[in-house]
């Protein structure tokens, strides 16, 4: 027998856990698909086309700056899907393409590609378009408008580098009820009128493509947590941080500051907590670190929502958390086995 044997010398350990990066990434994509599907169901063709545009833009940018192999790890698809979920459904397609380019180009490849980025690439893309196109990014569309599967929201097909057409009049024409054109968060902030938590939970209110149904986000997030593909301690501490902070302010001034339930289920907090803050690259690795990181994001989100100039603070809170991650890791190094506490 031995003459034929080709012997391979391999470093220990000779066996490995079956779950690799590609498996994890593929599952995250899988978990994002129901959210994207819900967005398409709510907003129709425009959302579908926007999703495809953003993902395609991310993939092209990844290929442009990197090697062909890096496309196979699915991470660019995740960035694309998450970015799409944070955009208003009527966002002009060309702006979506710009957002995808910036997300991957500036947010990821400039740092050196997968694993090297400091910030969540999807949020870098979103932050860029928020600054570049402040009107388009805050133009909301009524959900479930008639004819959403046969026609586009007027702003969707705006030509590149043109200002998209006003949608207010169009929005008035497609819905029977008066459409305020504002998200629950904006209503709460500027008019002190709270949407019912039940509506927020089920996702029948206006908002970004993927932020409206807290229930769906929760279900998809739990799927990943159960399969151990995201660290459940992060969303739990983000939500805890938000709930604690919101409750504190609510007790101080119940008229101006909504309660924790509204805070948890409105806006992009659920999506951010389960899908953005949990981005492994930008979050700490130490057990204590992830908790601090989560609490920080939750608290900052609420503070921005209540006192900032913006209605939504999740994005900046997570970017801030990403920036603090190396520092958090540094100060939460675990106590080594057998080392005496000093």
């Amino acid at each position: 027998m031995s003459d034929k044997a080709r012997i391979e010398l391999r470093p220990t350990p000779h066996i490995h856990a079956p779950q690799d990066v590609v498996t994890i990434m593929r599952n995250v994509v899988l978990a994002c698909l129901p959210l994207a599907g819900w967005a398409v169901w709510q907003y129709g063709l425009s959302a579908l086309l926007l999703g495809i545009t953003v993902v395609a833009s991310c993939l092209l940018t990844e290929r442009l700056f990197g090697r062909a192999e890096t496309l196979r790890d699915w991470s660019a698809v995740i960035t694309g899907l998450l970015l799409f979920l944070t955009l208003p459904p009527g966002f002009p397609l060309w702006m979506g393409a710009v957002a995808g380019f910036v997300a991957i180009g500036l947010g990821k490849m400039l740092f050196g590609g997968l694993g090297m980025n400091v910030f969540n690439p999807a949020l870098v893309g979103r932050a860029f378009v928020q600054a570049a196109f402040p009107v388009a990014i805050t133009t909301w569309t009524p959900a479930f408008f008639e004819g959403r599967f046969t026609s586009f929201i007027p702003s969707t097909l705006a030509l590149p580098f043109t200002i998209p057409p006003e949608t207010a009049q169009w929005a008035g024409s497609v819905v029977v009820d008066a459409f305020t054109g504002a998200t629950p968060l904006a209503l709460a902030k500027f008019e002190q009128s709270l949407a019912p938590t039940r509506d927020l939970f089920l996702g029948t209110t206006a908002g970004s493509a993927g932020e409206s149904s807290a229930l769906l986000v929760l279900a998809c997030g739990l799927y990943l947590a159960v399969r151990k593909m995201l660290d459940w301690r992060i969303p739990v501490s983000v939500l805890a941080g938000a709930a604690i902070t919101a409750t504190l302010f609510h007790l101080l001034d119940p008229v101006h500051h909504p309660d924790a339930g509204f805070m948890l289920f409105s806006g992009g907090l659920m999506l951010g907590a389960w899908f953005m803050a949990t981005d492994m690259v930008g979050s700490p690795v130490t057990p204590l670190g992830v908790v601090i990181y989560g609490l920080l994001i939750g608290a900052v989100t609420v503070v921005i929502r209540l006192f900032g100039g913006l209605t939504e603070g999740v994005m900046y809170a997570i970017l801030l958390g990403n920036a603090a991650t190396p520092l958090i890791d540094q100060f939460t190094q675990p106590r080594v086995f057998g080392e005496r506490r000093s």
Binding site: M1, S2, K4, A5, R6, I7, E8, L9, R10, P11, T12, P13, H14, I15, H16, A17, Q19, D20, V21, V22, T23, I24, D73, G113, L114, G115, M116, D231, M280, V281, G282, S283, P284, V285, T286, P287, V290, D329, Q333, P334, R335, V336, F337, G338, E339, R340
Partner: protein
């Protein structure tokens, strides 16, 4: 109130154990090969010094090399035959190691023909330790640390507890399990000798709870012995590392950089003590051991009693093996080294011979992705190190910082981080390179500081005995 606490340590991993293939099969004996390759350094410490010359006739059990000082053990003839040569041969430890080659006589008897005049019942602590050294016993769990060194407890550092390691946490291996089930009386006798030699007040046999038959049997037999307890511990890798097992059983942590005796504990493997219990009354020396021969490339997997020095090629022929590309591992899949040559002999520390055939090797040959900082390695490391950070520093060549700030020296290379890494980064391999570089650096510095002093033997690597069983 110890029963409130689950007997385990924190972190660790749960790899598939693959023990079912061999755990239920009784231990079988292998015949002698035509030629034995008996290395002089099958143990940690100074190599043994040959007592025989080319052409000399030796009988099974006879000493053929003597211990060179206290941190060394003798080597005995595993079979009756004639010394063919003493020359360097490839072994699992080193590329070339001095070995005694013995041509085994045809129809040589399995009976041991050479005996020591030991009277175990009359021996005091010192005599026991000496006999353990004379029989050439080393840790059979894989570390091959001389047993008599572990059993000699200095006056100023008394031992209160003897921990008997029956975890066998390495996947695929079941030799310790079979020994516990088939030789429980030898094991308990060995525990008694070890208690006497160390002066410890009590012994705890810790067994992973995936071996309920061994736990039940030993509990029943140990019921009459008030100072011997049998405890089940969680099945988790690396439970069989001595620091982890002490934490699980006693709730104590061995100080970083220290040894179990620093907290009054002596740890021995069940296979080692069962061997001690079997050999000492008979006056025999260590000439063979039980080896788990298993893996997807083996036709008749099982536990085999193999004479020391048997080339693995011979073992593979006996158990049936066909294949082309293969990874031959001496020991378990987590810590055992690959061997490059089928003439490599089974030695005292070889607890297993694992054959991963081509499909298995291909399945494990996956592309390496960048670190995505998922933190799984941090939650797996039983020493609570930060392998992710260590890996990044290793990639950047910052070996000094790894040692100074991130406790590289505490890593005992159990492989948990590499096993769990979804990016397939060879972390343990990187750490090994870093440690070697630091050792070389320290040696160079020492040589420059005092060029004239003669110290031919490099210092023993600390923590080597902490290997997982």
């Amino acid at each position: 109130m110890r029963w409130f606490r689950r007997r385990t340590f924190s972190h660790g991993i749960h790899p598939p154990d693959h023990k079912a293939e061999t755990a239920a099969l009784p231990i079988r004996r292998l015949p002698f090969p035509e030629q034995l390759v008996v290395p002089l350094n099958q143990h940690i410490g100074r190599p043994a010094v040959p007592l025989v010359h080319k052409g000399q006739e030796v009988v099974r059990g006879e000493p053929i090399a003597r211990a060179d000082g206290f941190l060394s053990v003798p080597v005995h003839a595993p079979a009756t035959g004639r010394v063919r040569d003493i020359r360097p041969m490839p072994t699992a430890r080193d590329r070339l190691t001095p070995c005694i080659l013995i041509d085994v006589y045809e129809a040589a008897t399995q009976e041991v023909l050479w005996h020591y005049p030991w009277q175990p019942e009359e021996m005091d602590r010192q005599a026991l330790v000496q006999a353990v050294q004379e029989m050439g016993l080393v840790g059979l769990g894989g570390a091959a640390f001389p047993s008599h060194v572990k059993l000699s407890v200095p006056e100023e550092k008394p031992a209160h507890t003897l921990v008997v390691n029956g975890c066998e946490c390495e996947p695929y291996l079941s030799c310790d399990h079979r020994v516990m089930v088939e030789q429980p009386r030898d094991l308990l006798r060995g525990v008694r000798y070890a208690l006497r030699a160390t002066g410890a007040k009590r012994a705890i046999i810790g067994i992973e709870d995936n071996k309920p038959d061994a736990i039940a049997l030993l509990r029943e037999l140990a019921a009459q012995e008030p100072d011997i307890e049998v405890e089940a511990v969680e099945t988790k890798y690396p439970q069989g590392s001595e620091k982890m097992l002490i934490r699980s059983l006693l709730g104590l942590e061995v100080p970083a950089g220290g040894i179990p005796l620093d907290i009054g504990v002596v740890v021995n493997n069940v296979g080692t003590l069962a061997m001690l219990g079997a050999l000492l009354p008979k006056g025999e020396a260590l000439t063979e051991r039980v080896v788990s021969v298993t893996g997807p490339g083996v036709k008749r997997p099982g536990n085999y009693r193999v004479p020391l020095g048997t080339p693995i090629g011979f073992v593979l022929e006996e158990v049936g093996y066909e294949g082309e590309a293969c990874d031959f591992v001496l020991g378990g899949p987590m810590m055992g080294p690959s061997v490059s040559d089928l003439r490599t002999p089974i030695t005292k520390g070889s607890s297993g011979l694992l054959v991963l055939d081509e499909p298995a090797v291909r399945q494990e040959s996956r592309p390496v992705w960048p670190c995505i900082k998922c933190g799984r390695c941090v939650n797996a490391c039983p020493m609570h190190l930060n392998p992710a950070m260590l890996g990044q520093l290793a990639a950047a060549g910052e070996y000094d910082r790894m040692a100074e700030k991130y406790h590289l020296a505490d890593c005992f290379e159990c492989g948990s981080c590499s096993w769990i890494c979804p990016s397939n980064i060879p972390l343990v391999q990187q750490f090994r390179v870093a440690k070697q570089w630091l050792r070389d650096q320290a040696e160079r510095k020492q040589r420059e500081a005092q060029p004239a002093t003669a110290d031919p033997q490099p210092a023993e690597e600390p923590g080597k005995e902490a290997r997982a069983a």
